[in-house]
């Protein structure tokens, strides 16, 4: 994070992204374990529960994510443990309950400030081989759908985007929605400095953001 900026909470980040047209996993904010249980029942199992707050940027490193919870008892245990793990410096926190998105493939996408060319949107192949494949491509903001489709076509591993072990091909139009949405967000919200969508899980061909971090200029 650069100086003079702050990150939005995951929930707030996703709210911004959803309003720009980026598909995000259904989720609810819960203040305590009881509310988390209700939210989970409404969303349907399995769910994921995370500790969420403006000052929490690295949830995985701090084990603040509980995946694949299949019933209310598991949700309660997870929720209580997460609230207990909150530190004073985290400030106001809440629980984020979201549907588990099944899918074998992960993409990463985001917005960055390039020192030469300014705001750019990035797309890459994610998952455990992301660093090894190093397959990412960029476009300067703003751009349209045609350009977004060309950005997708620029990735080296095109076969990776095709049908895979019974899963349909990645829906390029839906992925273009995400990219155009990111472009629109960068263009429209002058305070947005960067966005990190990691991962976008490919579920039935549709890329869905299951984690998101938006960095904004501190006002």
């Amino acid at each position: 994070m650069s100086s003079g900026t702050r990150t939005l909470s995951e929930h707030e980040s996703k709210r911004r992204l959803a309003s720009a047209g980026v598909a995000v996993a259904p989720e609810r904010l819960a203040a305590d374990a009881a509310e988390a249980e209700r939210a989970a029942s409404e969303l349907g199992f399995p769910v994921v529960v995370k500790l969420c707050g403006d000052r929490i940027a690295h949830k995985t490193e701090r084990s603040l994510v509980r995946l694949g919870l299949t019933n209310v008892a598991q949700v309660r245990i997870a929720a209580e443990a997460l609230l207990a793990a909150a530190r004073p410096e985290d400030g106001a926190v809440a629980l984020l309950v979201a549907s588990m998105i099944p899918g074998r493939r992960e993409l990463i996408a985001g917005c960055v400030q390039d020192p030469t060319f300014g705001p750019c949107v990035m797309l890459g192949i994610g998952g455990i081989f992301a660093e090894v494949l190093a397959d990412v491509a960029f476009r300067l903001v703003p751009f349209d759908r045609t350009e977004a489709l060309d950005l997708i076509a620029e990735l080296q591993n095109q076969a990776w985007l095709g049908p895979f072990r019974g899963e349909p091909a990645v829906d390029r139009e839906r992925l273009a929605d995400v990219l155009v949405g990111l472009s629109r967000l960068m263009e429209g919200d002058a305070d947005v400095v960067s966005v990190d969508l990691n991962p976008l899980i490919v579920c039935d061909g549709e890329p869905i953001a299951v984690d998101a971090l938006v960095e904004v200029r501190a006002s």
């Binding site: 390039d114 020192p115 030469t116 060319f117 300014g118 960029f138 476009r139 300067l140 045609t146 950005l151």
Partner: protein, 492 residues
């Protein structure tokens, strides 16, 4: 670009590329000095305008009297000054020149931004001074400018390329030379070329704006190491590429290359993946090598754009057909189209049954006097065929060359057959040119003989017609990819 803006741009660069007269400041009688070379090159390549050589000591240079000061130059007689004097002398010199009506200054003088902080300050002062004087400043630290429509060769290096439609701007003088050497070798010529040096005031995107408006230019070719203002560059490039193709060679794509670039031009590192995306977005044909950069530009300058991805291969050399098919089939841009039924029937009617009956159409030695030309015409006339590669041209003349030199020539019937073979290869090249013109689609000839036997009648006929032939089919496919990508981008 609006009409008015276009006129402004053409007018702004007119003293650089179409000068009435040129002053060589710091001209020298010593053949080892840049001041001599600049005078020599300007005087020896037929520049029809006024040339004034100035030098503190006066004297005689190349049979001309040198003036001791710009003050002696008649008012309004020169609009370009080519500066070979040291930095300390430059400000007074430029003031004198401006008084005489000079409007553009090419500074070959080194010792500015490339030397670090102090040099950078001197460079900033120089830019300010040229602004005040209304001078278009090129460089400093550049190797020269050429403009073939004006017979202008104001450079301290060689060669002076043939006239053509490629415009070059480069942050490395060495690459201007390289592109001009390729132009000389291939016969695909250059309209304007400028070694942009440190780009203190006039940047690559400014030249590109001019090239886009310039009626003498069909395609721009640039070498870039550093970009100061990425957004400005992107926006101006995109405007330029919407009118004419642009080929870019970028230096400093790796950490190692970026270190070298920092000491060469002081360029700051850019993320190459962002640069790559910007290129696609702006319709730039980005070439990873110097050869590909030139060949791509030369193709844009001499061949039409394809209207689709379908490539048809016609060959008299089987193996070349096979590997070319592999190359096209693995392309992400192009398509090895199946042969259309009526085209197969047309070939069947002209060839014995041992031809391949597919794409590539391998004539397998079954061709007679007119079959290659006729088959080429049939393929070119097919609307679904968007580009043609013709392989095997020159094989007969290669044999003819051996027969000519073999000691039996011209007896034993060799005289007649050798002449026949040589005429055939020239005919194939002429047919390719004619089909390309008639059907407005690329018909490219690729053979190693372009490199190995440039005087072979096949390659020679194309070169003399000002068209580019390719030393291998791989290189021809690579440029076709660039052409089709650009055509698609333009149509968006």
């Amino acid at each position: 670009m609006s009409e008015k803006r276009e006129q402004e741009v053409l007018e702004r660069f007119r003293p650089l590329f179409e000068p009435r007269g040129v002053i060589v400041a710091g001209a020298s009688s010593h053949p080892g000095k840049f001041g001599f070379v600049a005078a020599h090159n300007l005087l020896s390549q037929g520049f029809p305008g006024n040339v004034y050589l100035t030098n503190r000591e006066g004297g005689e240079i190349l049979g001309r009297r040198a003036l001791t000061s710009v003050a002696e130059v008649p008012e309004g007689a020169a609009d370009l000054v080519f500066v070979c004097t040291p930095p300390a002398t430059v400000p007074d010199l430029l003031r004198e020149c401006a008084k005489k009506g000079v409007r553009a200054a090419f500074l070959s003088t080194a010792g500015y931004g490339e030397l670090g902080e102090e040099g950078k300050r001197a460079e900033e002062d120089l830019v300010r001074l040229c602004d005040e004087l209304g001078l278009l400043l090129i460089g400093p630290n550049g190797q020269g400018v050429i403009s073939t429509p004006a017979s202008l060769c104001a450079q301290i290096v060689a060669p002076y390329p043939p006239r053509g439609r490629i415009a070059v701007a480069s942050q490395s003088g060495g690459f201007v030379q390289a592109f001009q050497n390729y132009a000389q070798k291939t016969g695909v010529g250059v309209s304007r070329a400028v070694s942009a040096g440190n780009c203190a005031a006039t940047r690559l995107e400014d030249y590109l704006e001019y090239f886009a408006a310039d009626p003498e230019t069909a395609v721009s070719l640039i070498y870039v190491e550093g970009i100061d203002e990425g957004r400005t560059f992107f926006e101006s490039v995109r405007r330029a590429t919407s009118r004419k193709p642009l080929v870019v060679l970028k230096g400093g794509t790796t950490a190692g290359g970026q270190r070298a670039a920092a000491s060469h031009t002081g360029a700051l590192a850019t993320d190459d993946r962002v640069f790559a995306g910007m290129c696609r977005q702006a319709g730039i044909a980005r070439a990873p090598t110097i050869e590909e950069a030139f060949e791509t530009a030369a193709t844009f300058a001499t061949h039409p754009l394809p209207k689709g991805p379908n490539v048809f291969v016609l060959t008299t050399a089987g193996g070349w057909g096979v590997v070319t098919a592999d190359r096209i089939a693995s392309s992400r841009e192009l398509r090895l189209m199946p042969i259309p039924d009526d085209l197969r029937a047309a070939f069947d009617a002209r060839l014995p049954p041992r031809w391949s009956r597919n794409n590539p159409a391998d004539l397998a030695g079954s061709e007679t006097r007119d079959t290659v030309v006729e088959c080429l015409a049939e393929a070119a006339a097919q609307p679904d065929v968007h580009a043609i590669l013709l392989l095997g041209v020159g094989i007969q003349s290669n044999l003819a060359a051996m027969e000519r030199a073999g000691g039996f020539f011209p007896e034993h019937g060799l005289g007649r057959i050798v002449e026949f073979h040589e005429r055939q290869d020239a005919r194939y090249a002429e047919a390719a040119l004619e089909m390309e013109r008639r059907f407005d689609k690329p018909v490219l000839i690729a053979t190693e003989l372009v490199d190995c036997q440039p005087e072979n009648p096949g390659p020679r006929t194309l070169r003399e017609a000002g068209s580019l032939a390719y030393p291998s089919s791989f290189r021809a496919v690579t440029v076709l990819e660039h052409l089709w990508r650009y055509a698609r981008w333009r149509a968006r």
